[in-house]
């Protein structure tokens, strides 16, 4: 489809216009390019998957025994089964954020890869979407292998764990759109310390390691705004096969953040690349 002229200011219709463009063949070129570049760095690609796996393994060996079964909606589950979906959500977040923020920043402001791409028939929205598609392609691979490991270690709650797959891909979408938007605001490498400053507290306090019922009520209410919390809770429910209407709300929340992030990212990309 003919993408809108990137030089025109993008208005509220941007969201509506973004959807059909998921089919834009030109975005696939950006995906291809990334895949080609990464082929040379396959060790990095594979090793990225091991970090959460190590966490999972470490918890299965030790903390599992120290913490013991936890009640989740009346069902008692082992600590490892409690934590595993949170780790899956975290790995989706980390993968998406690191790629969206660091690599995109490098291409946007340091190596000027995008300026070269813009000299081709690609336009700004093709690029932003291409980056998102790339993040999703990676997430699909990562989360599948993570779920297989979860099952192999006995940390899956039920056969419904298979539904964690689309859940994790949705999580990646959310965080890569947020990351893309955030990356356009970065000025120097020093600003990246701020990224870790957001990422780590999210990781530690989003109900990944312990239920948010432990917080005082007001604090729990704040934490429930954390997209990582919503993702972890969604994936936990899916893993345990505890279906609930609230899952639709959680998925909707993640989707809404993704769209907002994409909207901001596309707008800012246009501003930076084709002012």
């Amino acid at each position: 489809m003919g993408a809108a002229n990137n030089a025109t200011p993008i208005d509220g219709l941007m969201i509506a216009r973004s959807f059909p463009m998921i089919g834009s063949r030109r975005s696939l070129r950006v995906l291809e390019r990334n895949a080609l570049v990464y082929r040379a760095q396959w060790v990095m690609l594979i090793s990225g998957f091991f970090e959460p796996l190590f966490y999972l393994l470490s918890i299965s060996i030790g903390l599992n025994k120290l913490v013991g079964p936890l009640p989740v909606h009346g069902q008692f589950i082992s600590y490892a089964k409690f934590v595993a979906p949170g780790m899956l959500a975290t790995s989706a977040m980390n993968g998406a954020m690191i790629d969206a923020i660091f690599n995109t920043f490098f291409k946007l402001k340091i190596s000027h890869v995008y300026d070269a791409l813009l000299a081709t028939p690609l336009d700004v929205t093709d690029i932003a979407l291409g980056e998102v598609l790339w993040a999703l392609a990676r997430a699909t691979m990562y989360s599948a292998s993570f779920i297989i490991c979860m099952a192999a270690l006995g940390d899956a709650g039920s056969v419904w764990v298979i539904l964690c797959w689309p859940g994790a891909i949705l999580t990646s979408l959310t965080f890569s759109c947020m990351g893309l938007a955030a990356c356009t605001f970065m000025r120097t490498w020093q600003d990246f310390d701020l990224v870790a400053l957001v990422q780590l507290p999210l990781f530690l306090f989003s109900g990944t390691f312990f239920p948010i019922t432990q917080y005082p009520q007001w604090l729990g209410a704040i934490v429930s705004f954390s997209p990582l919390y919503q993702s972890a809770a969604l994936l936990r429910g899916l893993s345990l096969g505890q279906f609930d209407w609230i899952m639709i709300f959680r998925a909707g929340y993640l989707m809404a953040i993704a769209l907002f992030g994409l909207y901001v990212a596309a707008r800012r990309f246009s501003k930076i690349l084709a002012p």
Binding site: G48, E51, G62, L63, L66, L204, F210
Partner: protein, 265 residues
């Protein structure tokens, strides 16, 4: 050659390299405060308090300690290990390859050895300051139960140098940072997780225990824990110290070679 002129410019040259690193840090410290001060506290809060509550409920004390107290000293060791990693790989590669500021330093009276010693001395300085700060924090949390705790800053510094020295040497001979990420993910993350950091060695199956004890970080964790709680035998602690000192010595010897080769060839 004239021996007297040699000693004149030879004195305290490593100190100038230390001063350079210190001044550089004074200009650029802002971002690193979060990672070296705030992050360990966040870990301590999430795991010590959050997970600690669950542990207390189900398991009770861990080796006679609350879970918060149990992991507080080990987080000192992991934090100082991470400080050693963070200061040594990318910054050194940048200095010998991307920006070549060490090459610039080598055109001044400094010898490659001076640059190396100054760097390590600076990393040790940072580790000491961070460790003092961290020791005070865990003291506030009530994790310090022995006068041996006063040695925690020294233990933290030792852990940092034990990791920093070989990593500086390695970075000084690297051509790219491609291997660094792999090193992080396959060496430092597992070490962080599997050095009896978050639960006792006894939780591991018997055949895995020697593997855990093989990790250098394990010795740092054990040492820090022993100092904080005033437990464990002196010979065992001397064993841990020996492992870490040996790493530092081997690292320095290797670093002298790699720095010289990188800067003077």
């Amino acid at each position: 050659m004239n021996p007297s002129t040699r000693t004149d410019v030879g004195r305290s040259r490593w100190l100038r390299s230390w001063g350079y690193h210190a001044e550089f840090y004074a200009q650029t410290w802002r971002g690193s405060v979060a990672s070296s001060v705030l992050f360990p506290i966040l870990f301590l809060a999430a795991l010590g308090i959050g997970v600690g509550k669950l542990v207390a409920h189900h398991h009770g004390l861990v080796d006679g300690q609350t879970y918060l107290h149990y992991i507080a000293p080990s987080l000192l060791a992991t934090t100082t290990m991470q400080l050693g990693e963070g200061e040594s790989l990318w910054p050194v590669l940048a200095s010998v390859k991307w920006v070549r500021t060490y090459h610039a330093a080598a055109t001044t009276p400094l010898e490659p050895d001076d640059i190396l010693y100054g760097k390590l001395a600076w990393v040790a300085t940072r580790a000491f300051v961070t460790s003092v700060f961290y020791t005070i924090i865990i003291g506030v949390f009530g994790a310090l139960q022995s006068w041996w705790s006063l040695t925690l800053p020294l233990i933290g510094t030792l852990v940092t140098v034990a990791f920093s020295a070989p990593l500086v040497a390695y970075a000084a001979r690297s051509q790219s940072d491609a291997s660094f990420t792999t090193l992080y993910r396959f060496a430092f993350v597992p070490m962080f997780l599997f050095s009896a950091t978050f639960y006792p060695l006894s939780a591991y199956p018997g055949y895995l225990r020697p593997v855990v004890q093989f990790f250098p970080l394990y010795h740092g964790v054990a040492l820090a824990r022993a100092a904080a709680f005033g437990q464990g035998s002196i010979p065992a602690q001397l064993g841990h110290v020996t492992v870490l000192v040996a790493m530092a010595i081997v690292g320095v010897a290797w670093g002298r070679r790699t720095m010289r080769r990188r800067l003077t060839d």
